[in-house]
């Protein structure tokens, strides 16, 4: 073989070896372990710390909340959805996670929008509970930890013994879908039918002064009052409330 060919070959071989050495030197050792990528990247990504904690973390301290939360239709809503996600500073920095503006918070999911599925409970702000009603915070009537209560699904008419009067949905808005009561709105379920009917009649006539109840009772016929009273009397009385 002529000398100049040998030299050329030597230079080519040397160049190839140099290139290969450079590749080996500069490629991460974990590259190609599983494929054309750096295997250590997977380890690094998997090693990040979770931020969203889930309800389990909250219930460690707020265990009394679990019974209510797990029974109501908000059981699918994780604590952090309403109380804040990420680095909130609670509890270490003593930051309170109680939402202040519940109108703004609740309408995030419950403001009436044409794009929302019909089965999602929705309200028109300014018309709920009454048109022209002064804006009051949602939690003044609703218990956010147990809306709908019991096993009943929110937005569905309550089911109970016997026929369900059509007007019952109006009562359910404040007194709970099973008549279990919310905050200052008393429980109706399990109360004697006579007492319930008597009460409604007195609201209607004005013998008991109550602006909100007069509004609702005035819209009821004698027959509807009888049906409502019998319906709620037949429902099981609510279990005692736990308020931590």
């Amino acid at each position: 073989m002529p000398k100049y060919i040998v030299r050329l070959l030597l230079i080519l071989i040397a160049g190839s070896l140099l290139a290969y050495a450079a590749k080996v030197h500069f490629t991460d050792p974990s590259f190609y372990r599983f494929g054309h990528y750096r295997a250590d990247a997977v380890t690094e990504i998997a090693g990040l710390k979770p931020v969203i904690q889930g309800a389990g973390q909250c219930l460690k301290c707020h265990e009394k909340r679990e019974q209510d939360w797990a029974a109501g239709s908000h059981r699918t809503v994780q604590c952090e959805v309403c109380h804040g996600m990420g680095k909130t500073g609670h509890p270490d920095d003593g930051v309170s996670l109680v939402p202040k503006d519940t109108i703004r918070l609740c309408t995030m999911c419950h403001a009436a929008m044409p794009s929302r599925p019909a089965r999602q409970p929705q309200i028109v702000v300014g018309e709920h509970p009454f048109a022209g009603e002064e804006k009051s915070q949602c939690i003044s009537c609703h218990d956010p930890h147990m809306p709908g209560g019991g096993e009943a699904d929110a937005g569905q008419p309550p089911t109970g013994p016997g026929a369900v009067p059509a007007v019952v949905s109006k009562c359910a808005k404040c007194h709970g879908s099973m008549g279990e009561g919310h905050k200052k709105n008393p429980a109706l379920a399990g109360r004697p039918a006579g007492e319930l009917a008597d009460r409604l009649n007195k609201y209607r006539s004005g013998d008991i002064s109550n602006k909100i109840m007069k509004k609702y009772a005035s819209a009821l016929s004698d027959e509807e009052i009888r049906q409502l009273a019998e319906y709620y009397a037949a429902l099981p009385a609510p279990r005692p409330r736990i308020d931590p």
Partner: protein, 278 residues
């Protein structure tokens, strides 16, 4: 006619070259030997079957389900994703997002907006919070719905195919990941993705994407967006486990994928898509 000087010069050159080659050979040989030894070590080590300690990635095949008929557009998924993955809290960077489709009476084409729409940012008050405004409440709407979107973690991901440096790849358990250390910021993947699911982090000069919260799912948790979804619109799980939420979701529903014609074979399965959603 060659001079003595020239001959000496060539001989010297060859001698030097020979020595250099020998030295180089030693270096290369050493490197290769080292590599070979390291390679054997890895091969014998049972830990090397998975890069994540305590998690066998060969046993899982992750998939995602989205029931768009349940989405209420509360955008908690978007919020959770940003908090979980430290995505820039502005209107230009999202690993997951939600689109609103609205068909007004008499219109054939939908009006589409997302949480990044200026009016929606105004409703939220800040770019760091997310909220759909109620602009259609007084309009005659014939049909409307929300569509959550994100990386589809395709079976045949175009983004992986185009990456020139092996920075983005599909893991053995079916998650398309990105290695920020290897990414050179060429943005081929952003162009290649038919779903617009990738984003660019300007500060770091790298591409970024949804990881299905790989750091959560390898610990047995749900991705952040699934964890916070109040309506179970989003479901996630292991296709190798017949009782997982996503196996059940695919079994019990007539599922679709976005842009099947792109050939990427997405692993996000939808219920309730519409003709104009792509």
């Amino acid at each position: 006619m060659k001079t003595e000087d020239n001959k000496t010069g060539r001989r010297n050159f060859l001698r030097t070259s020979g020595a250099a080659l020998a030295g180089l050979g030693a270096v290369v040989g050493g490197t290769l030997l080292g590599e070979a030894v390291a390679g054997t070590d890895k091969g014998n080590n049972p830990e090397s079957s998975s890069p994540v300690p305590g998690y066998d990635w060969k046993k899982h095949r992750w998939a995602y389900g989205i029931d768009a008929t349940k989405c209420i557009g509360c955008l908690r998924c978007v919020k959770a994703c940003k908090e979980e993955n430290d995505v820039a809290r502005d209107a230009n960077h999202f690993r997951t997002w939600v689109e609103r489709y609205v068909y007004l009476e008499g219109e054939e084409k939908p009006l589409v907006d997302s949480q990044a729409d200026p009016q929606n940012i105004a409703a939220a008050g800040t770019e760091a919070d997310y909220r759909f405004d109620n602009r259609y409440k007084d309009k005659k709407v014939t049909k409307s719905f929300f569509i959550p979107k994100m990386c589809n973690h395709c079976e045949h991901p175009a983004c992986v195919q185009v990456c020139p440096v092996g920075a983005t790849f599909k893991s053995e358990d079916g998650v398309v990941l990105i290695d920020h250390e290897y990414c050179i910021g060429c943005r081929y993947c952003i162009q290649a993705c038919p779903y617009g699911a990738r984003l660019f982090i300007e500060d770091m000069g790298v591409s970024d994407k949804c990881t299905w919260c790989y750091h959560r799912i390898t610990k047995g948790l749900q991705p952040a967006c699934v964890e916070v979804c109040p309506t179970h619109t989003r479901v996630f799980g292991d296709l190798n486990d017949a009782s997982s939420p996503v196996s059940k979701f695919i079994r019990e529903n007539r599922v679709q994928v976005l842009k099947p014609e792109s050939g990427n074979a997405p692993m996000c399965f939808y219920v309730g898509l519409d003709k104009d959603v792509s």
